[in-house]
């Protein structure tokens, strides 16, 4: 029971950290930090709440293999998109940032 409480506290701390770092402007590091924290939290849930740490080998194999295949799916498709001739992509490739925001960002309810 004590272990579960420790994991709960760690998950709550992770949530606070992800919100705080998410509000900071760290450029492309924002995405990396958010993913690292989320992966750490997910690992804690899988290992301790879902007891994969104490499971039999076959259960671990099944779950890890599913994650590997999810990553293969994402890496394969994303790798294909990134290495294609941009002409074949919508808008001729990624739409470049304009530098100025296209929205009235802090006024989400400004429209009627």
């Amino acid at each position: 029971m004590k272990g579960y409480i420790l994991v709960l506290v760690a998950l709550l701390i992770g949530t606070v950290v992800t919100v705080v770092t998410g509000k900071m402007d760290l450029g492309s590091f924002n995405l990396a930090i958010a993913l690292i924290i989320a992966t750490t939290k997910a690992t804690l849930v899988v290992l301790y709440f879902m007891h994969l740490k104490d499971s039999t080998g076959v259960n671990r194999l099944v779950f890890v293999v599913s994650i590997i295949f999810a990553l293969v799916l994402i890496a394969g498709v994303f790798g294909d998109i990134m290495t294609r001739n941009p002409v074949s992509l919508p808008h001729g490739g990624p739409v470049p940032r304009t530098g100025t925001p296209s929205s009235a960002m802090h006024l989400p309810a400004a429209h009627h």
């Binding site: 989320a38 990624p94 296209s102 929205s103």
Partner: protein, 219 residues
């Protein structure tokens, strides 16, 4: 049925299916079945995360600006609710393993309450977005973000959170059935695998949200 409760495991209790030799073999099989199912769930959501990745690559500015329109407060609140409920369900499993039947039923009840709170918050978020005209396809009338791809962000938002909310509803239903069966005294230290598996499903719901929250609300 009830007379068999006093039986020992090797005397073929009611919860042992006839095609299994003993409870150990059955538990091994049902656990592996559940993990296989969870593996397919991971792949189901992986497709949507892939869609998110690709469209974020296409429309970086729109995705950044749109994600700032979401309420971080509501998202963070729901994150805490789900993490808390994940803890409650593992506590319920711990209780039933120690024959604390009443406590287990109450903890499952509180988990279902958390699912309800999550869905109520989600309802208010959806209502706001529908009011703003951010639904997918022809219903999209929002003009607050003019960078191309804003409509894709909200389509992906509704698809991912919608599928997740469906999982919350299914998970809460499973936990409700388990709660009733706990109250009927079907589970205890001798037999608690259904609570474990129901809990596993609920943890998966939590897992998906752990990734959805930063990707949709924060970056």
């Amino acid at each position: 049925m009830s007379s068999s409760e006093a039986h020992q495991e090797h005397e073929h209790p009611w919860y042992l299916a006839h095609h299994f030799d003993n409870i150990k073999v059955q538990n091994y099989a049902v656990r592996m079945g559940m993990w296989l199912f969870l593996g397919t769930e991971v792949l189901l959501f992986a497709g949507l995360f892939l869609g998110y990745t690709v469209y974020r690559y296409f429309y970086p500015q729109a995705f950044e600006e749109c994600s700032q329109l979401l309420s971080v407060g509501m998202g963070a609140f729901n994150t805490v609710v789900l993490i808390g409920s994940s803890f409650l369900v593992v506590w319920a499993y711990h209780s039933i393993k120690h024959d604390q039947v009443k406590k287990c039923a109450w903890l499952l009840f509180l988990t279902i309450v958390c699912a309800g709170i999550f869905l109520v918050v989600k309802y208010f978020e959806y209502m706001h977005k529908i009011h703003e005209g951010q639904l997918p396809g022809k219903m999209y009338t929002f003009e607050g973000v003019t960078a191309p791809g804003a409509n894709m962000y909200f389509s992906i938002y509704f698809l991912m959170t919608g599928l997740h909310a469906l999982h919350v509803i299914i998970g809460a239903t499973i936990l409700a059935v388990l709660m009733v069966r706990v109250m009927k005294g079907k589970y205890g230290s001798h037999h608690n695998v259904p609570i474990e598996l129901g809990g596993l499903y609920w943890h998966l719901v939590d897992l998906v949200w752990i990734f959805l929250f930063p990707l949709l609300y924060l970056i």
